[in-house]
């Protein structure tokens, strides 16, 4: 019998934590529950979970503080649960070190996909960069040849555009914020407007997507960043 991944759910609303627990247990995860921030701290250190699902609106401690505190000593993946209308919170949580977020209301399938991606990325953080190619549908990103192809045809991306696609595909399934992408691409001192990145992205869409308004590979999370579909 293989060891099951242990997931800590930090959520004060029992009906929601109950629903998340049922879904995760039904799909082969071990689940522990914390109903407050204080409880969450002690459980993170005593149970060493493989992943934390964290609701931002806890009664005792601000969710952002929990993320910061956990990040001081461990890189264990954190998925934040937030309301749709609070894009500022999402960005702040991601910048503080959360791995991903999921917007209420979410389906069981969405939750499982996020959990799977987050666990895989920490497991494979060394291996992912070593892999040669990313393939999804007709799209192939060839890291060695610095080339993106659709159905085998070169998309003629520029240097910058390739770097963006390569970065997103290496983190496929995960949302990357504008700030994160800009820092990865143009160094830590790149500040200010994300306009250039967004225009680059619009050009990429016109090159790799059949219909730029109905993308199949790279999705925009407006106000937050981009997410590339998981590889096949």
């Amino acid at each position: 019998m293989n060891i099951r991944d242990k997931i800590l759910i930090v959520e004060d609303e029992r009906s929601i934590s109950g629903f998340i627990k049922t879904v995760l247990v039904g799909n082969g995860y071990d689940v522990i529950l914390a109903h407050s921030g204080a409880e969450a701290f002690s459980m993170v250190s005593s149970h060493c979970p493989d992943l934390v699902v964290l609701d931002l609106g806890l009664p005792d401690i601000d969710g952002m503080d929990i993320i910061e505190a956990i990040r001081e000593w461990t890189q264990l993946p954190i998925i934040v649960v937030s309301a749709r209308t609070l894009e500022k919170d999402k960005v702040e949580a991601l910048d503080k070190g959360a791995d991903d977020y999921i917007t209420k209301p979410f389906s069981a399938a969405e939750l499982l996909a996020r959990v799977r991606v987050a666990i895989r990325h920490t497991r494979a953080s060394g291996i992912m960069t070593g892999s040669q190619k990313y393939v999804s549908g007709d799209l192939t990103v060839d890291y060695d040849k610095h080339m993106v192809t659709i159905k085998g045809e070169n998309c003629h991306l520029t240097q910058n555009e390739f770097k963006i696609v390569a970065l997103l595909s290496r983190c496929a399934g995960k949302v990357l914020t504008y700030d994160f992408i800009m820092k990865e691409l143009w160094g830590p001192q790149s500040r200010g407007s994300n306009q250039i990145l967004r225009v680059n992205m619009a050009n990429i869409r016109r090159k790799i997507e059949k219909n730029p308004a109905d993308p199949k590979y790279i999705f925009t999370e407006v106000g937050v960043g981009y997410r590339m579909v998981e590889a096949e």
Binding site: R84, T85, E87, P105, S107, E110, H156, T158, Q159, N160, E161, W186, Q195, I196, R198, V199, A202, N203, R205, R206, N211, P212, A213, D214, P215, F219, T220, E221, V222, G223
Partner: protein, 368 residues
């Protein structure tokens, strides 16, 4: 002491606008009198004209201050410039104190009347707003109650079942419950959207790329309605628009929800954006039954939500959803319209002003 000051400020508020109105009014009165002096030797009309000016100034300014000031100033102006002896103050003329008191009284009385009138108007506006709010609350509460009843009913039927129900029946009940819950969620999202627009209709706008907002709205819609085919088309140029993306997505979601909920046989929605001068027009068209002509003209005025509240539950969303669309689009300075397409189905259309920056897509590469 403070309260006295506050009271004084309430009755005698000072403002730039007040001073401007005051000086313009006085100057206007003097000008008219000067002109009339040229054609007539009598000066009976002079006090009348100044009383009129006092009245106008009181009406156009807040509080009592400018009205009274205008009355006093008029008394001096009439005495000094327009009655014999000209260009000289002379209060010794027979009956003058009476004129003085009359003008002052007129000034105070008209200021008081004007203030009362304005207060009245404010009260009436507030009462109207209160009424709208109460109506909205009433219809929302009703709208929330129906699906909640259905959800708790379906779920308890499944829970309390003692083997009489087939799997299929249970599934149907649970599916209905989920559908109702999703409807409730979109209702709450709409209400939250309204709170994002503050009383003055102001919103926090950011430069957003239109195609990204459209596609995110469609992705969210598809999560709930996987069976509806959606086509989107956008201009080849990259269009940036100043907007609150969450709100514009709400508009699109409401329109698409509408197409599905009220179109009857809708299974295809076409969203297209076109540049139209310095604006962009977004249309959401479906292949459903179209909008009944009876309600076509009342779609956005919010009157339908009350029709829904009277028990026509199939209509329950249309009122609030579209009224919210209208509020959002207007807060962005755009326009909203609806029509039936000649080839069948309904079409909703709204416009938004383009940002200053549009990036023409030339197919060429540009790096940083």
């Amino acid at each position: 002491m403070n309260s006295i000051l506050k009271k004084a400020q309430e009755y005698f508020p000072l403002s730039w606008k007040g001073w401007i109105v005051f000086f313009l009014g006085m100057a206007g009165g003097s000008l008219i009198c000067t002109l009339l002096q040229a054609v007539s030797t009598s000066d009976v009309h002079v006090p009348m004209i100044f009383v009129l000016m006092v009245l106008i100034i009181s009406m156009l300014t807040d509080g009592y201050f400018y009205g009274i000031l205008a009355a006093v100033a008029s008394v001096f102006a009439v005495n000094w410039a327009f009655t014999y002896p000209y260009m000289k103050l002379d209060f010794s003329a027979y009956g003058y104190p009476l004129t003085f008191i009359t003008m002052l009284a007129v000034g105070i009385a008209s200021s008081a009347l004007a203030s009362r009138l304005k207060e009245h108007q404010k009260l009436r506006l507030e009462a109207e707003r209160e009424k709208t709010r109460a109506n909205l609350l009433r219809s929302v509460s009703h709208d929330l109650r129906t699906p909640l009843t259905a959800i708790s009913g379906s779920v308890s039927a499944v829970l309390e079942d003692n083997g009489a129900m087939t799997e299929q029946e249970k599934r149907e009940l649970l599916e209905n419950a989920r559908e109702d819950a999703q409807w409730l969620y979109s209702m709450v999202e709409n209400l939250l959207s309204i709170t994002r627009i503050n009383g003055a209709g102001e919103i926090v706008k950011k430069e957003e790329m239109l195609e990204e907002v459209l596609s995110e709205a469609v992705v969210n819609f598809k999560k709930r309605n996987p069976d509806i085919a959606i086509e989107i088309s956008v201009p080849e140029d990259i269009v940036f628009i100043q907007m609150d993306a969450t709100l514009i997505e709400q508009v699109l979601l409401n329109m698409m929800d509408n197409s599905v909920a009220h179109g009857g046989k809708t299974n295809q929605i076409v969203i297209s954006a076109e540049e139209d001068g310095d604006a962009v027009a977004v249309t959401v068209a479906d292949n459903g039954n179209g909008i009944p002509p009876r309600i076509l003209n009342h779609l956005f005025d919010g009157s339908l939500q009350f029709e829904g509240a009277r028990g026509k539950d199939s209509n329950r969303f249309i009122g609030i959803g579209l009224a919210v669309c209208k509020t959002i689009v207007e807060a962005h300075g755009g326009t909203l319209s609806a029509r039936n397409r000649p080839e069948g189905g309904a079409e909703f259309r709204f416009t938004l002003k383009k940002g200053e920056e549009t990036h023409e897509y030339t197919g060429q590469n540009f790096d940083r």
